[in-house]
């Protein structure tokens, strides 16, 4: 299949997300500098998802996160400067929750895997640390006890959050961990000299945590963040903007990493990598893998100049 690109915004595409239980419906969202775009045909065409808000000026959308029970509750969240938007009807209508002033710049969102019971949503912000909502996004408060670095680039929630209440943040100076549902944070041993950490991902069985840095490659931890090692097979020194991990059909882990110029896939738990360069003409900023991570799978790539590319995984 030839690479296809669609222009969705006049500037940066911050994030891409695919609805978790609607692969058949191909419902995707793109958070861009000029608004939130929605596609219902697998990324082939896009429309303004916030049109009903009749905004006077485009609202920058910086992040998107779906409820883990999206198939039932149709709930998703979108981060914006100073607020978090929530839709409970798959993006038709929106409710805006204003965050405490001064308006935080939301960089990332994460929803609790146990959202149905606990209603927890987390927002990472630049200069404001982590904000936490315990009532499904209605109200928010900053919980930064022990978070010594408030410049948050990435959030990753443990797949076993129901039992362990654990989540991680990637920040300017490394990685912090919370073991009490985001109410307090502790430093991990991630080396400060290797930071900033721009992206994080946790495997389904919690055995591996990946951290993508700005200039110091890819790092992994196999002991819940107690110790970190550089991934030996990763040789790039450019910023790793997005990371995904999932279970591979061969029993190992499939990894996906996005740098500014290429998308990298590993199907053997990081022992080796295959690369695909879409020659997008602009830096790649985000990626979504609606069909999972396997050779030939369809991937969506967002770019700095407002395009979304549909490519095949290497």
């Amino acid at each position: 299949m030839k690479n296809v690109s669609v222009a969705v915004a006049s500037g940066l595409v911050y994030a891409l997300a695919c609805a978790p239980s609607s692969i058949a419906h191909r419902l995707y969202f793109a958070a861009t500098i000029t608004g939130l775009q929605r596609s219902m045909d697998g990324g082939r065409s896009w429309a303004d998802a916030l049109a009903k808000l009749t905004l006077q000026a485009p609202l920058t959308a910086t992040s998107v996160a779906f409820s883990p029970d999206f198939g039932e509750d149709c709930t998703l969240f979108v981060g914006a400067p100073g607020g978090v938007l929530r839709s409970q009807d798959a993006g038709e209508n929106w409710r805006i929750a204003t965050l405490p002033t001064p308006p935080p710049f939301v960089t990332c969102l994460a929803v609790s895997p146990n959202y149905r019971a606990d209603g927890l949503v987390f927002a990472g912000a630049m200069e404001d640390g982590v904000l936490r909502s315990w009532d499904r996004g209605e109200s928010w408060a900053a919980w930064n006890f022990g978070l010594l670095d408030l410049n948050v680039f990435a959030l990753a929630v443990s797949p076993n959050f129901t039992e362990d209440d654990t989540l991680f943040v990637g920040v300017e100076s490394g990685v912090f961990r919370s073991a009490n549902g985001g109410r307090a944070w502790r430093e991990t041993a991630f080396p400060m000299d290797a930071a900033p950490v721009l992206s994080l991902a946790i495997s389904h069985d919690k055995t591996v945590i990946l951290a993508g840095t700005e200039q110091n490659g890819l790092w992994s931890s196999r002991d819940q963040g107690e110790s970190w090692q550089p991934v030996a097979s990763w040789l790039e020194r450019t910023a790793i903007n997005t990371l995904h991990i999932e279970k591979c059909t061969n029993g190992g882990l499939a990894l996906l990493a996005l740098t500014g110029a290429a998308v990298w896939c590993s199907y053997d738990s990081g022992a080796s990598w295959q690369k695909a360069e879409p020659n997008a003409g602009a830096a790649l900023t985000c990626v979504a893998a609606p069909d999972g991570i396997h050779a030939g799978a369809e991937l969506l790539l967002g770019t700095e100049d407002g395009h979304i590319w549909i490519v095949r995984a290497p």
């Binding site: 006890f145 010594l148 009490n180």
Partner: protein
């Protein structure tokens, strides 16, 4: 002329009898309180004629016993009281355990010395044995984390479910170094609140700077901070700050200074314009140059600014924009001000905190540890306040005291871990002590380890006896079960203490063991008691002393 009656000095063997008798009276008053089914002690009040105080805390009981009638036995009593009081202030718990250990070791030591052993040699080997006991206790310690487990640790100290649940939640959030303030509340119950950022007990210097009169507060967003302990006596001394702030287009400015004269303040007020630049001034936190310098250093690291210090001759004359600290938010009230979201280099902040933690671990001085802990707590990005309410002022005070010592114990547990409770940890030290005893080459060495072996059973013996069980039978069952097992007096069964959740903070156990063992070893070397009839004029007040690094 009134004749001063001098008491004759007391020599051995009367000294041992006197010290032992005095110590026994103190220990006898405290021993019944040991364990979950301990008893209470009624202590007569001296200052008023209300009914006696009913106490179940060994530390409070020790503090209440001011003097015994016999001046010689009083020496022994005060010796023990002093070490128990220090332990109570330092750890908040473990006093009754230390008391029974002290008595067992002292009495065992007296038997051996009167039988002919050398007291100084015995002291030397008892101190060696103390180190072995502390190592064994440290080996048994396991880290503790999580709200429920911390609440459980708190419960073993205070036996107050509501209080322990709240303290568990609080310490799960603020961590081992976090800042916790315990205050009297205005309601009948316990309340807690969490405050974001760091704050100090210093308020606005001029009420004209308050912008929100309803809340008596001023909030600044994206604030610049001029950090100093300077005395700004003239408008010219503060003018450079305003010039630099204006040139940089700053909209919110906080000026921290130790003194601002009326004329200098007038200049600040004249330039305090919400439409151009809001200016608020606060007094430098801290007492004394050293403390203020520490506070300003921390504030500078947090916000990325530069502290201007009087001691090095700094002035604002050459201040530049880069010298300002920056923060996302600053709030100022009449009594406090706070900083949220300092914009200093996070790496520098983390290294600074690591240095403070290392200094905390390395210092022996209690006062210094308190100061370092306060600094660490402030820099961690938040604080908790526990308000203790009650039906009466007496109840509030009692519950506050319980909260403070429980908080100290929980903090110790977070810092050094937990170990089997109920006296089981001490009992588990016996095998190592027996090995040393078997390998001993001198009679005093064998005697010392023998004394310690016997003494290690005393805490469990006292707990079991207080609960109404036969200590001999209980200990026999426990010994058969093995190390780490103890007697659960609530169920009357032998259990693995850690699995059963019967635990103590390791820091409390170690501190109690050290206080008792080293105190008793020292008491055995007292040969003469000399009484003074009046306090010499050059006598100095003793400080809180040093915390032994165990």
């Amino acid at each position: 002329m009134t004749q001063t009656r001098r008491r004759p000095s007391l020599f051995q063997p009367a000294v041992y009898r006197a010290v032992g008798s005095g110590a026994s009276q103190i220990v006898g008053a405290i021993r019944p309180t040991l364990g979950p089914i301990g008893r209470v002690v009624a202590v007569e009040r001296l200052l008023d004629k209300r009914g006696p105080e009913v106490l179940d805390s060994g530390g409070l009981i020790a503090k209440r016993i001011i003097q015994l009638s016999n001046p010689y036995t009083d020496v022994g009593a005060m010796f023990v009281r002093d070490l128990l009081w220090r332990l109570h202030d330092q750890e908040g718990d473990g006093v009754a355990t230390a008391a029974v250990l002290f008595q067992a070791i002292f009495e065992g030591g007296v038997r051996h010395v009167t039988a002919g052993h050398n007291a100084r040699r015995l002291q030397t080997f008892l101190e060696e044995g103390t180190r072995l006991v502390l190592d064994e206790l440290a080996r048994m310690a396991k880290p503790v984390a999580g709200k429920e487990r911390l609440a459980h640790v708190a419960y073993t100290v205070c036996h107050d479910r509501e209080l322990s649940d709240l303290l568990g939640e609080i310490f799960d959030i603020i961590g081992p170094y976090g800042r916790l303030e315990i205050r009297s509340g205005n309601t009948r119950s316990l309340e807690r609140e969490y405050v974001e950022g760091m704050y100090w007990d210093r308020g606005v210097l001029s009420r004209d700077m308050i912008s929100d009169w309803r809340r008596m507060r001023c909030d600044l967003e994206e604030a610049a901070i001029a950090i100093s302990d300077l005395h700004l006596r003239t408008p010219e001394q503060v003018l450079p700050v305003l010039e630099q702030a204006t040139r940089a287009g700053l909209h919110n400015l906080l000026v921290v200074a130790d003194e601002i004269s009326d004329s200098a303040m007038s200049l600040l007020l004249a330039n305090n314009r919400p439409d151009r630049m809001r200016i608020v001034a606060v007094k430098t936190p801290g007492f004394g140059k050293e403390e203020q310098a520490d506070v300003l250093t921390d504030l500078a690291v947090l916000t990325g600014g530069r502290p201007f210090l009087r001691t090095v001759g700094d002035t604002f004359e050459r201040i530049c924009v880069d010298d300002f600290g920056r923060a996302r938010r600053v709030w100022v009230e009449t009594q406090n001000f706070g900083v949220i979201g300092g914009k200093g280099d996070p790496r520098r902040l983390r290294r600074h905190l690591a240095a403070l933690r290392a200094a905390f671990e390395g210092t022996l001085d209690i006062v210094q540890r308190g100061k370092l802990q306060a600094r660490l707590g402030k820099l961690l990005g938040g604080a908790a306040t526990l308000r203790v309410g009650g039906l009466s002022e007496r109840e509030i005070e009692a519950r506050k005291e319980a909260a403070e010592r429980t908080a100290a114990a929980v903090r110790g547990a977070l810092q050094e871990g937990i170990a089997p409770g109920g006296g089981a940890a001490f009992l588990a030290c016996q095998p190592a002590l027996r090995r040393k005893m078997a390998a001993a080459s001198e009679p005093e060495e064998r005697a010392a380890y023998g004394i310690l072996v016997q003494a290690m059973a005393e805490p469990m013996r006292a707990i079991v006896a207080n609960a109404g069980y036969d200590p001999g039978d209980a200990l026999a069952e426990v010994r058969m079960a093995g190390p780490g097992y103890g007697y659960d007096v609530l169920t009357g069964r032998v259990v693995c203490m850690m699995e059963a959740g019967i635990v103590d903070p390791a820091s409390v156990q170690k501190a109690a063991a050290y206080a008792a063992l080293s105190g008793a070893a020292l008491a055995l070397t007292i040969d003469v008691i000399v009484h003074r009839t009046e306090q010499p004029s050059h006598a100095s007040i003793r400080g809180p002393g040093q915390r032994k690094k165990l």
